[in-house]
Amino acid sequence: MATTIEEPISQAIPPISVRYCAVCSFPLEYCEFGSSFTKCKETLHEEDEDLYNKYYSEEALQKKLGSISLEAQSKLEKDTAAKEAKAEKKADAALKKKMASQVTIKRIERNKRKFVTSIHGLEAFGVDLKKVAKQFATKFATGASVTKNPQGLDEIVVQGDVSADIVEMIEDGVGLLKGVPKENIVEVEEKKKKGGD
């Protein structure tokens, strides 16, 4: 790294393979600046003792101090710890929100005996809406599309009254719907205001 690289190279230079951290995806040496340092460290310790020693042994830590003062180093460490706590909190909050978010299955009356079913809120569980729409379309042999509702949020609209089947599908976790908790399903019915019975 010190000086410029040697110029004429006639053959293809093989790529350097860099080992990335499994936890934070940074190259291992940058874990200390990430937001999950402790976890990165533990994981590496379990996976690869040698590499762990390379980066985190006493000696390495001494060398790492380099040019900055002890004071700055301790400040950095404090910063990292704070960052870590913050990231943890954020992850916690995200999980909580995820568990609290609801999947709404709405049966909408379109024309007396004709219905469409709209499913809203699946995206909170890391489901690809487009693919699920396709899955519904093939399963029920009807049209299914991803549209924006008046609130500007994405929802899946399936032609026909399939709300009961969809509830069942989510409960069983068919295909892409795995990991959607069934406690969060809400079924709603929406009738046309004019001309209802």
Partner: protein, 184 residues
């Protein structure tokens, strides 16, 4: 440039690139990067064609098998992605920042002169001066791999002399949204 970037909202379309355009990109890469034909061949085999991913604000990312390989803003020079730089660290001229600056860089800050001119930093010697507006790879003190890519705002000699203000404008860095984007 990639501090906030999400594939869902910022990508406007993906297209195949015409082979004549690919040829001109290839020759542009050869002239802009410190890379010879064979190495470029292993990065981007002749038979494979890249896909142009158009994004907001005139950013175009070129992907090979879904992996971002390099990108360009408007018609400025091409930048390799950081992952590509990790594999081939010699593509662009390099500078190094001191340890104190790393955490600011990882928060997306531009690099100021003192971080490069201090003991932990590195600037090429005067005879290999880097001009202003050149893409560079940013390394970090005590680290083996690159940490970011940027554009110089002044020549390296000016950095030494003035030693103030922004020296390198950060384009992409470790942990930004382009880094998080492993597949497109």
């Amino acid at each position: 440039m990639f501090k906030k970037f999400s594939a869902a909202t910022d990508v406007s379309g993906q297209t195949n690139v015409k082979s004549s355009v690919q040829r001109s990109i290839r020759s542009a890469l050869l002239s802009q990067w410190k890379v010879d034909q064979d190495t470029l061949e292993s990065i981007w085999p002749k038979k494979e064609s890249v896909i142009l991913v158009k994004c907001r604000e005139h950013i175009s990312i070129y992907t090979l098998h879904g992996e971002p390989l390099f990108f360009q803003h408007f018609d400025e020079p091409f930048f390799p992605t950081l992952r590509l730089v990790h594999k081939y660290p010699f593509l662009l001229p390099k500078v190094r920042i001191d340890r104190g600056a790393i955490r600011f860089l990882l928060a997306g800050a531009h690099m100021m002169c003192p971080g490069l001119t201090s003991a932990g930093g590195y600037l090429p010697p005067p005879e290999n001066e880097i001009k202003a507006g050149t893409p560079v790879v940013l390394f970090a003190e005590g680290k083996e791999h690159a940490v970011a890519l940027g554009v110089t705002k002044m020549s390296t000699e000016d950095m030494r002399r003035i030693n103030k203000n922004t020296a390198v404008e950060t384009v992409t860095y470790l942990g930004d949204d382009l880094w998080a984007l492993q597949k497109l």
